[in-house]
């Protein structure tokens, strides 16, 4: 399933936050959204998933979601959004409970996604017992459980320390190489973007417009060995972003 975004504008009150966004999100590819803070990249992600209504413009799903998909547009949040009163298993099964699945089918899916995120032995742990990285793995397992057409990832690694971030980045790449998924990945970290993105979309400062789109054709699994090439792309992105970031940094919050 692809996502087509055409002529998207969004305003909060009178203030424009997104302006004239046209974007294609193609099946099996990861699109990274980068931009200075406050540029509306998280807003764009909320609009794509239907958590907010755009002021005008269209976001359309083109094609059918994969078979057995329970929730086509599925988020992975920066703050994990796990229910503290449910165990890891309970948090995963939460999103299956409204779909009338048999108990055995639910257990099968939960076991499968916990195994895929290397969490099998932590099924009965409560979120407070888990490290940040493990919490985000539970959230990833929960998202995998509904077999989404498109993952909407809102800075999923930003709340983690840098070592954990590297580990989870490897996990995401492993998941993608085993079974390519479609994703929109919002980040402010250029390194993450060049490591994971097939297409990198640079947004300008508020109101967010698309400044540039950079395609990276190199397969994800080859990227760890291509530091030089990636560093070059990263530098190019930073040159685009630098000016925007500088201007955004000097803006007053309520100006």
């Amino acid at each position: 399933m692809d996502l087509h975004i055409d002529g998207l504008n969004h305003r909060y009150g009178g203030m424009p936050v997104l302006d004239g966004i046209d974007l294609r999100i193609e099946s099996g590819r990861i699109v990274c959204l980068i931009g200075p803070s406050g540029c509306g990249k998280s807003t764009l992600l909320r609009l794509i998933g239907g958590l907010e209504q755009p002021t005008d413009g269209a976001i359309r799903q083109v094609g059918e979601p994969p078979e057995g998909c329970l929730n086509p547009l599925t988020y992975i949040f920066q703050d994990f959004a796990l229910l503290p009163w449910r165990t890891a298993r309970g948090n995963v099964s939460l999103v299956l409970e409204d779909h009338g699945l048999s108990e055995r089918e639910t257990a099968r899916i939960v076991d499968d996604v916990l195994a895929r995120t290397d969490l099998s032995e932590f099924g009965n742990a409560f979120p407070r017992q888990l490290s940040g990285g493990m919490k985000q793995r539970v959230a990833i397992a929960r998202a995998l459980a509904v077999n989404p057409a498109v993952f909407l990832m809102d800075e999923p690694l930003s709340a983690l320390d840098s070592q954990t971030r590297a580990l989870l980045m490897d996990d995401l790449i492993g998941l993608w190489t085993r079974e390519p998924f479609t994703a929109v990945y919002v980040t402010h970290n250029l390194q993450e973007a060049v490591r994971l993105g097939h297409k990198i979309v640079v947004l300008s400062r508020r109101p967010g417009r698309i400044r540039d789109q950079v395609a990276i054709d190199m397969p994800l699994e080859d990227r760890p060995d291509a530091d030089v090439d990636l560093a070059q792309i990263q530098r190019r992105l930073w040159e685009i972003l630098r000016e925007e970031a500088q201007a955004a940094d000097r803006e007053l919050a309520d100006a």
């Binding site: 998933g49 958590l51 329970l70 929730n71 547009l73 599925t74 988020y75 949040f77 703050d79 959004a81 229910l83 503290p84 009163w85 449910r86 939460l94 999103v95 409970e97 409204d98 409560f126 407070r128 929960r142 509904v146």
Partner: protein, 268 residues
């Protein structure tokens, strides 16, 4: 010969302690024993006249007599049943109204001003009105307790619902959970800590109102017993009644503690 090394300079002085009170094991019970012991001693020596304050042993004898005659069970049964019926009805209604205020705009704008206007009324002041409405019997007593516990429960509940992490609700919506699922699995458990701490407040209010209601036209009940003892200047019985109330309060608070431990075991 090994020479002790002489270290240069002054040691850094530790200045980080304190501000962390720890429970000191048997101190609590010890204070009880000492206070009651001094009280008993004062009565025996004659510092404390029995008319003003009876010796603890006399109060204990009054309590023992109450148990011997079996009267204690009639008083306790009357009081505890009023407390349980009034408090649970107040809690159920309060949680229901609190949830509707927490979830629906119409309920919020319509009911919050009403709650704000009725909450500060001392419910004792309404007891005569309740006697006119529900009769001098059980009805008026239960209504007083119900009313007294209803408002704090409403306020605790909708405060709890308001404080449920919105990002969790957003998560539920983003996974396509039904409205009822979100309320049952996200809002209710999220509001539970606030509701349970509200029960502590409403329980103590319920006990206060219980005694007050029983002091007006009740034959049995701890409040009636205390009032009668006061009228007869039987201070030993009065103290025995007050001790029963203290124990009742402790039992209720222990039960709530158990409930909190069970329902909130997901917290650290």
């Amino acid at each position: 010969m090994p020479e002790a090394r002489i270290l240069a300079g002054r040691p850094v002085v530790f200045r980080g302690g304190g501000f962390a009170p720890q429970p000191v094991g048997p101190l609590g019970p010890a204070v009880f024993i000492v206070v009651i012991g001094l009280w008993e001693l004062g009565s025996r020596i004659g510092w404390i006249t029995p008319l003003i304050l009876p010796a603890p042993s006399e109060a204990f004898a009054a309590l023992a007599y109450l148990v011997e005659t079996g009267e204690i069970w009639r008083h306790l049964e009357a009081s505890v049943s009023r407390l349980v019926i009034g408090w649970s009805a107040g809690m159920i209604l309060g949680v229901a109204v609190g949830f509707s205020i927490g979830l629906f705009s119409i309920a919020r704008s319509g009911l919050v001003p009403v709650v704000a206007a009725l909450f500060p009324i001392p419910k004792i002041a309404l007891l005569p009105l309740f006697i006119v409405w529900f009769g001098i019997g059980e009805g008026s007593k239960i209504a007083t307790i119900l009313f007294g516990t209803f408002f704090p429960t409403v306020i605790a509940t909708y405060g709890g619902v308001d404080n449920v992490d919105r990002s969790l609700i957003r998560m539920g919506q983003s996974f396509g959970l039904s409205w009822l699922s979100i309320v049952r699995k996200i809002v209710l458990p999220g509001a539970l800590p606030a509701i349970l701490s509200g029960t502590r407040i409403s329980a103590s209010i319920a006990i206060i109102l219980l005694v007050a209601a029983e002091m007006i036209g009740a034959e049995y009940g701890i409040g009636a017993y205390v009032l009668l003892a006061g009228n007869l200047a039987a201070t030993d019985q009065l103290i025995a009644g007050v001790a029963m109330l203290s124990v009742l309060g402790l039992v209720v608070s222990w039960l709530i503690g158990r409930a909190e431990r069970y329902f909130l075991r997901w917290r650290s």
